[in-house]
Every structure is written in structure tokens, then in C-alpha cells.
């Protein structure tokens, strides 16, 4: 029988339902692995909280509750606020912060019976494409620990890839689910903007931020997404009045005749040869499954970089103004007057990437520049969204790479933020248009590093994306392959809970991972 950490979510749920294993046993198994995490994925673990939730799930199972995710563990990106674990958003500004409430997404998964394993590392305030911007240290890619896992949901991607959690939540503002999924060889989906509530997601760029699941397969993601979505009218004014759906309903439907649009702009000079080879092979696999490839054009692809990096920092500079040291979070010890306290608090609390984006955002929103930058960017955003609508007249889904390269070396781009921004070119257009986007493993590049294929759908077409990815995953085994760094035989993994005091401090890092 497969190890618990290798089971799919439906298999895990089945074993729980038939009482072959208890939710407490499953939770203990994953807690042991989480405590042994050497990749920097976890920021907070609390055995007591997790085991109490697991006992509750066992009681529900004993009472005949058959909810599809009951007793299955999940870990949350530390951008979601939680009552039972600290919430830091990867920032020193919020080290040790305890929210008085749970984010809606966290709450919905708990209502579905999922057991929370703790909080996962991320780029500070979800700003970054490498997960090197966390105040609590970079996360390492389990396929090659000298490389980045992608960001900003890098901790989530690593936890799933290394089997430290069977599933995780992530958020995607400009590609932060799809790109780390690509770099770590897992599956992730960002739903249509507004389908999942943003309430309790620590805000970065409000018109772009969207929650989504990260797991090993499209089948797992479909289950999670069904539990995460739904309107939240009283708490999130941007959430759509769209009922929750069963995204698993059409997973096994044939994709015979599916028209896959292949944007020519996604296959230009900047695309690495090994990534291109894996993507081409994956597209041929789709053809073998009955799909048809259609060449399309998304002419404003390159413009999406400046448009995104104007809109997102502008909204970030506004959202992050709440971190002033008054009501919550870090406050500088030495200061003169109130303004000096704000300045010193924010200078001490924020990291470089966050400061840079606040400065850019402040500039583009300042008097005399708003029309030239922010307004202009929002207008081009409409053109980008219109380009997609034009494309969807010719095709049902759009496919291409999620990133131009595989994961790069830790520190390789630390001094060149613009190089990082340029690498987001394939995920940004879909983000700006608010479209659903999925990334699934589709092959390996040089050095055995994973390559992910991105599928973009029209608004509310998540089920079609999940269907296509599931059919691909039934015909291939890329999503089943695992990195050596997660091997149960690796010396850093233990088979039971560690002794008191080992691993992370109870309740997580209050002063930061040193």
C-alpha cells in the first residue's frame, strides 16, 4: 500500500471514510513530516490545534458525515489570516500577529472538514516570483535545493511537492500559483477573479489577488476548488454572486475536438529550449487525446509587464498604508513624532521588494502622474481583456508555458528585480484579464527540473480547464513523479512526532526564522 503522503485526496478521503485510517493518524503522519521540513516551507505548526481538528473530523466521520474532504489535511499560505496560527504574510511587519478571525477560504475548508497543518512560507505580502523575499528566509526547491521554488506561493508548492502536506492554499496576483506550481512539478489553479472570497487574504493588489488550490493533480484541485469558491456578499464587495460549483463533475469527459489556442507570442526568443521542448511535447499529447491546436495571437502580451507592474504596486502602496505601527504589527522603538514613527516603523518592518513596490506605487498615484500611469495601465488592461475575448472566439482554452525557464538558482537575480518582473510575462496577461488559469506538470527540462503547462480559460470555465488537465494526467505520469528530497528514506524525515521542543517552536515563528 502507498504511504499516506503519496495518496491522492480522493484515496485519502476514501481510507478515512472506511476507517482504514483515522484523521488523527493522518494528521500525525503529516505533522511529523512538517516538523522535519528542511526546505523552509512551514512557518507555523501547532500540534495541539491540528490534532483537535483531526479529532473533530473523526467524530464527524463516526457520525456518518461523508463530506468529500472530511479529515484530509491542508496547509495554508501565510497570506491567509487564521485565528489558531500566527499570520505574517512573510513579513517582519507582522511577526507573531494573531488574527481575531479566519479568512473565508480557511473557514470554508474547515467547514468542509479539512484539518489545518499550519502556515506556509511566502514572499513578503505575496510580492515576488522566487520566494526569496520572505523575512523568514528563502524556501528551497525540493527538486534541487540550490534553486528557488517560485513565488509567491513557494512554500505551498514545496509543501505539496515534498509531501509535507497533501494540499495547500495559494494566492495568485500575477501568477503566484501557476509559476511555483510549474517550478515544483505540482498542479495549481487560479479561478476567475471574484469566485473565491478575498476576505482575510492580506491584501496586496485588490483588483488582482485571487485564492486557489495547489495539489498534486487536477482531480485534487477540483475537490479543493469546489470547497473554496462561492459568494461572500457581506464581507468581500468584489466577490461575485456566483454559486459554488462541483468542479469535479466533468473531469472524465472526453476532450475530443477541444480547440486549444496556442499564442504565438508565448513562443518567442525568450523561451528556453528545454521548456519549449516539454511544452511542444505536451501539446502533442493533447492532440493524441483528441484536441486540436489553433494558432492565436495575444498581441499585448509584452505590454502586460508594465501594465501589471504599474497597477499592482499602485494598489499595494494603498493597501500597505495600514501598516503604520499603530493598531497591529511591528512598531519602531526609537522615534520622534508620529510621522517619524510611521517612517521608522515601515522602514524596519518592510523588506526591499515591498519598499520598492510601495515607492513605485506612490509615484504613479501621485499628483500629475495618475493619468499617465495608473489610468493608462487600467485602459490597456481592458485591451488585454478584449484580446482574450477575441482569442476565445477561435478556441476553447489557451495553452503555453507558465514561465520562460525552469527554476533558477537561489540568489541569481537578487540584484536585478526587473529580470524577475520580465519572467512573469506568460502569467500576467491572464491575471490582468481576471481569467482562470491552471498549471500542471508536463515534463522536465535540463537538470531534471519540472516544467509546467499553463492552461487559460474564459471566465468561469474552471471545470473545462480541470477536465483537460485531468485527461492529460490520466495519460501521463509527470504529476506522480517526486523529487528525491522528499523521499521517506531521506535522513531528515522521521516516522513519528518529534520530541517536545524539536522542530518549529509551538505556534510558529514569532520573531522570524533566523
Amino acid at each position: 500500500m502507498a504511504d499516506l503522503h503519496d495518496l491522492s485526496l480522493p484515496d485519502l478521503a476514501r481510507q478515512l471514510k472506511t476507517k482504514d485510517v483515522s484523521a488523527v493518524d493522518v494528521a500525525k503522519h503529516f505533522l511529523a513530516r512538517a516538523h522535519a521540513d528542511t526546505l523552509g516551507a512551514y512557518l507555523a505548526i501547532d500540534d495541539d490545534v491540528t490534532l483537535a481538528q483531526a479529532r473533530e473530523a473523526d467524530a464527524r466521520i463516526a457520525n456518518g458525515d461523508a463530506a468529500p474532504l472530511l479529515g484530509v489535511p491542508v496547509a495554508h499560505k501565510d497570506i491567509f489570516v487564521t485565528k489558531d496560527f500566527p499570520s505574517t504574510a512573510g513579513s517582519k511587519m507582522l511577526a507573531g500577529y494573531r488574527s481575531p478571525f479566519d479568512a473565508t477560504v480557511v473557514d470554508k475548508l474547515a467547514q468542509a472538514g479539512m484539518v489545518s497543518l499550519g502556515k506556509l512560507n511566502c514572499d513578503e505580502f505575496a510580492m515576488g516570483s522566487s520566494n526569496e523575499n520572505s523575512a523568514f528566509g528563502a524556501v528551497k526547491n525540493p527538486w534541487d535545493t540550490t534553486r528557488i521554488p517560485g513565488g509567491s506561493s513557494g512554500g505551498s508548492a514545496v509543501a505539496v511537492a515534498a509531501r509535507l502536506a497533501p494540499a495547500a492554499t495559494g494566492t495568485d496576483t500575477g501568477g503566484s500559483i501557476r509559476q511555483p506550481a510549474s517550478f515544483c512539478g505540482i498542479t495549481g489553479i487560479k479561478p476567475t477573479y471574484g469566485r473565491a472570497s478575498r476576505y482575510g487574504m492580506i491584501a496586496f493588489a485588490s483588483s488582482l489577488d485571487q485564492a486557489g488550490p495547489m495539489a498534486r493533480s487536477a482531480e485534487d484541485c477540483a475537490l479543493l476548488l469546489s470547497a473554496m469558491c462561492g459568494p461572500d456578499p457581506d464581507r468581500d464587495s468584489t466577490s461575485l454572486d456566483r454559486p459554488a460549483e462541483d468542479f469535479s463533475r466533468s473531469l472524465t469527459t472526453s476532450i475530443e475536438g477541444l480547440r486549444i489556442g496556442v499564442p504565438k507570442e508565448f513562443f518567442g526568443a525568450g523561451l528556453a529550449a528545454d521548456v519549449r521542448a516539454a511544452i511542444d511535447a505536451a501539446l502533442q499529447q493533447y492532440v493524441q487525446l483528441g484536441a486540436r491546436l489553433v494558432e492565436i495571437s495575444l498581441p499585448r502580451t509584452e505590454l502586460s509587464i508594465p501594465v501589471y507592474y504599474i497597477i499592482a504596486p499602485a494598489e499595494a502602496s494603498s493597501n500597505l498604508s495600514r501598516f503604520d505601527g499603530v493598531k497591529f504589527g511591528h512598531r519602531a522603538q526609537q522615534y520622534g513624532d508620529l510621522v517619524d514613527m510611521y517612517k521608522k516603523t515601515r522602514a524596519e518592518g518592510f523588506g526591499d521588494e515591498v519598499k520598492r513596490r510601495i515607492m513605485i506605487g506612490t509615484y504613479v498615484l501621485s499628483h500629475g502622474y495618475y493619468d499617465a500611469y495608473y489610468l493608462q495601465a487600467q485602459k490597456i488592461r481592458r485591451m488585454i481583456a478584449d484580446d482574450f475575448q477575441q482569442a476565445f472566439r477561435q478556441c476553447d482554452v489557451i495553452a503555453g508555458p507558465a514561465a520562460p525557464t525552469t527554476a533558477w538558482k537561489l540568489g541569481a537575480r537578487s540584484d536585478d528585480p526587473v529580470a524577475n518582473y520580465l519572467a512573469d510575462i506568460f502569467t500576467l496577461p491572464g491575471s490582468l484579464a481576471g481569467l482562470p488559469g491552471l498549471c500542471h506538470p508536463c515534463g522536465f527540462g535540463e537538470g531534471g527540473l519540472p516544467v509546467g503547462l499553463q492552461l487559460l480559460g474564459n471566465y468561469f470555465d474552471e471545470a473545462r480547464l480541470l477536465n483537460a488537465a485531468h485527461r492529460f494526467q490520466q495519460a501521463t505520469d509527470f504529476h506522480l513523479r517526486k523529487p528525491e528530497q522528499m523521499s521517506p528514506h531521506a535522513p531528515h524525515f522521521v516516522s513519528s512526532l518529534p520530541p517536545e521542543g524539536a522542530g518549529l517552536p509551538k505556534g510558529g515563528l514569532s520573531g522570524g526564522r533566523q
Binding site: 507573531g96 500577529y97 494573531r98 481575531p100 476567475t192 477573479y193 471574484g194 483588483s207 456578499p233 457581506d234 464587495s237 468584489t238 461575485l240 509584452e302 505590454l303 509587464i305 508594465p306 507592474y309 505601527g325 499603530v326 493598531k327 497591529f328 504589527g329 511591528h330 512598531r331 520622534g336 513624532d337 508620529l338 510621522v339 517619524d340 514613527m341 517612517k343 521608522k344 515601515r346 522602514a347 518592510f350 526591499d352 519598499k355 520598492r356 510601495i358 515607492m359 513605485i360 506612490t362 509615484y363 489610468l375 493608462q376 495601465a377 487600467q378 485602459k379 490597456i380 485591451m383 481583456a385 526587473v418 518582473y421 520580465l422 490582468l432 484579464a433 481576471g434 481569467l435 471566465y459
Partner: protein
């Protein structure tokens, strides 16, 4: 267009950020590097276009809702102040702002 050290100084004040001189210098270089890729965007003719604030508004008329103006939460002062940097007798403490 290129920002000057004076611009960075002004932005620091507007953004309520105190940067060290070396940090300020690095920021100037990086932000100017960034604005070099923004120029292409400024040249696009967008006359007659409405900005797209909520993405789904590209296909549908999206109305941002307001909830009823009624009390929906009970008093959670203690929970809300649990992570405050400084509190006294149920009040958030800040530096003196009026002499």
C-alpha cells in the same frame, strides 16, 4: 523620463518610508530601470477606452455591493487589540501629536 534623488526623497516622505542613503541610491537605480520598460505602455493610444477596474467587467456589468448599514459584529476590542504594539486601558497608544 528618469527620477532624480530629489524625487526619491519626496517619495520617501509620501510613502512614509525612511531609507538609508545607500538604500535610497539603490532604489533610484532600480526604479529608473523599471521605468525604462514602462515607456512602451505610455505610447499606446487608449483614447475612448474605459479603464478596467474589476476584470470581470470586461464581459459583464459588475456592481460593487455595499452591505446594509447595520451592526453585524459584537464588540471584539480585546481580540482586536491582542496584536497591538501598545495598549493601555483598552486604548491604542501612539506618540503625543498635540503639544
Amino acid at each position: 523620463m528618469a527620477l532624480t534623488p530629489d524625487d526619491i526623497g519626496r517619495l520617501q516622505h509620501l510613502a512614509r518610508l525612511e531609507l538609508q542613503p545607500a538604500e535610497s541610491e539603490r532604489m533610484l537605480t532600480q526604479i529608473n530601470g523599471f521605468f525604462s520598460i514602462v515607456e512602451a505602455m505610455r505610447a499606446v493610444d487608449t483614447s475612448g477606452l474605459e479603464p478596467l477596474a474589476h476584470p470581470v467587467a470586461a464581459i459583464d456589468d459588475v456592481q460593487l455591493r455595499l452591505r446594509e448599514d447595520t451592526v453585524s459584529e459584537t464588540n471584539q476590542r480585546e481580540a482586536n487589540q491582542r496584536s497591538a504594539p501598545a495598549v493601555e486601558r483598552g486604548l491604542f497608544l501612539v506618540p503625543k501629536v498635540i503639544e
